[in-house]
């Protein structure tokens, strides 16, 4: 997910014996929000900083694959909608960096961690956008998967994160509908367009399922984050919810999912799906996805090429402050 950080265990297990800890846990258990100035266990702070900043980085890196198609969007309406969507994602990055900053890490530090490769972002953005259908797929499936993960986060115990999520979720569902609408237009279009849609689904389906992170049987890292009410559902629970919601939408489009094992289980009422290729997931997370290097190169280039602009803004702000101080001193004489 955008928050695959949850699958990394924090080194220091929280000490459950201190009185402060107990009071903290009682507040969380009572579904009260933890605010920036409240006492919190260091591990809680670290876990959230890692998760929120990773989420922010995902929004920012996620602007690149979709940004590819802004200049090539097929109609002016689609062009405006895509530009607005990519701009929304930048806005999400901005709120999330602000939410993470309330935990005491500056945006500059977080950005440096992204650019140095220390911080991760969602594996999904390391896949390429090859045709216009990929823009439909990202809205429909990637934003769709993000929503599944983020709706429970609207109730996260940390106030600033929960509030950012409420605002973001509204926009993500708009993106999801817009993406589905692109798919609908393609699937009702010419045979070539329909094929473009099918081919995009073939490429994206499995990587999207991987967004939810490792299978529950391979990750027991959720106990603390569950107790802290950061995470409320397991990876597999969220993945299943997503599959159940998405498969009928795909069938309505007349598309076929690239999974021969996909079938409705009469007993459970859920869609059963085939085995995910976790070696691919691990490879992409480790840096060997199709576009990892390219995405980081683009982010670093934007940052480095913009250094002189940020320096100029800073220099100007300082000159202005100095002038104001001088004018004030003169007036005081």
């Amino acid at each position: 997910m955008y928050t695959q950080a949850l699958n990394t265990r924090d080194q220091a297990a929280p000490s459950a014996d201190s009185e402060q800890d107990a009071r903290f846990q009682a507040r969380v258990d009572a579904e009260l929000k933890i605010e920036p100035n409240d006492w919190m266990p260091e591990a809680y702070r670290r876990t959230l900083t890692r998760q929120i900043s990773q989420h922010a980085h995902s929004e920012i890196v996620g602007m690149l694959p979709e940004g590819n198609w802004i200049t090539r969007a097929p109609t002016l309406k689609r062009k405006a909608a895509l530009l607005a969507k990519v701009q929304d994602e930048g806005g999400h990055g901005l709120y999330l960096y602000s939410a993470a900053e309330t935990l005491g890490t500056s945006r500059e530090e977080m950005v440096d961690q992204l650019l140095s490769g220390k911080a991760k972002y969602s594996s999904i953005f390391n896949y390429p956008t090859l045709t216009w259908a990929d823009i439909g797929i990202i809205g429909w499936l990637v934003d769709g998967a993000a929503i599944m993960n983020q709706i429970p986060l609207c109730r996260c115990s940390y106030g600033p994160y929960a509030r950012a999520m409420i605002r973001i979720c509204k926009e993500e569902s708009f993106h999801q509908r817009q993406g589905y609408e692109i798919m609908l237009a393609l699937c009702r279009g010419t045979p070539e367009q329909k094929q473009m849609a099918q081919e995009a689904l073939n490429r994206w389906w499995w990587p999207v399922l991987m967004m939810f992170g490792p299978s529950d049987k391979d990750s027991q890292h959720t106990d603390t984050t569950t107790r802290w009410k950061i995470k409320r559902f397991t990876n597999d629970e969220l993945r299943q919810k997503f599959v159940d919601a998405t498969v009928p939408q795909g069938h309505y489009l007349g598309l076929t999912f690239p999974d021969p094992a996909l079938r409705l289980n009469e007993k459970t009422g859920h869609w059963d799906y085939g085995e995910i290729d976790w070696s691919e997931f691990k490879r992409v997370i480790a840096g060997d996805g199709p576009c990892n290097r390219q995405r980081m190169k683009q982010r670093r280039a934007a940052h480095e090429n913009g250094a002189w602009v940020r320096e100029a803004a800073l220099a100007y702000a300082e000159k202005r402050k100095a002038r104001e101080r001088a004018a004030y001193a003169e007036a005081a004489e």
Partner: protein, 250 residues
């Protein structure tokens, strides 16, 4: 048959679209996240203006060409935008200076056009004038920061100004097509905006400690379809899907 009103509306539309397209190229690559968002905003304003203007142009023409037929299915010689707006983004300073030179003109231009005897143009302009006021404010602030920032930013801003200055004359040109519309109270006479544009530019450049270039030879031709080499590449991107899949609905 191209009527003067059709050509005039198309010129405004093409200028807005091409500049909006240029700004959209920045999104995801700006020096700070706030500017990714600002480029997105300004790009959306311009593309929105273009859409209203194309729709109106199509109605004037009466050949059932909609906004997309006009934007996606005309080749470079049929495009009527100002040369200024098709110039490459260059560095951040070049983009900001280009936007300043245009917005300082477009803002009073749409202000005057909002009083046009043509109600549709007046309505489109009334909305655009508010948007362009924001562009002027935003890019003036950046021009000042860059000009009065560091030596490097000053040098880059001054270089951008020198490079783009020869494209400013075209904004004030009037040909036969427009003269007739000006006389009927439909189009704006850009000569009436010269003093306002000069004042805005001079004030911003002074505060930015930048030097106004001398007026030399001015490039023109965009509004009658004679473009720089850059437009063809913009259209190759912009029109790719419509050209590769003729007649498809998206």
């Amino acid at each position: 048959m191209e009527t003067p009103l059709f050509t005039y509306t198309l010129r405004l539309a093409d200028t807005a679209l091409i500049l909006g397209h240029r700004l959209s190229e920045w999104v995801g690559h700006a020096p700070i996240l706030e500017e990714d968002l600002a480029f997105g905003n300004m790009g959306l304003d311009l593309i929105g203006q273009a859409r209203s203007l194309y729709t109106y142009a199509g109605e004037i023409e009466g050949l059932r060409r909609d906004e997309d037929a006009l934007a996606y299915l005309r080749d470079a010689p049929a495009y009527r935008n100002l040369l200024l707006v098709e110039q490459p983004n260059g560095d951040f300073a070049a983009t900001m200076i280009r936007q300043l030179l245009y917005a300082a003109f477009a803002h009073p231009y749409f202000g005057a056009l909002s009083k046009s005897k043509d109600e549709r143009l007046a309505a489109i302009a009334a909305k655009a004038v508010k948007e362009m006021a924001y562009h002027v404010r935003h890019v003036s602030e950046w021009t000042i920061r860059l000009g009065d920032g560091t030596d490097e930013s000053h040098r880059r801003a001054q270089a951008a100004l020198e490079e783009l200055w020869p494209y400013t004359g075209e904004m004030f040109e009037v040909d036969r097509v427009e003269r007739a519309l000006i006389e009927r109270g439909i189009a704006v006479d850009p000569a009436t905006l010269r003093a306002i544009w000069d004042r805005t530019i001079d004030e911003v450049l002074e505060e930015a400690t930048l030097t106004r270039p001398r007026d030399g030879f001015m490039q023109s031709g965009g509004r009658s379809g004679r473009h720089s080499e850059h437009l063809g590449f913009i259209l190759a991107d912009l029109q790719f899907l419509q050209r590769a899949y003729p007649g498809a609905t998206w």
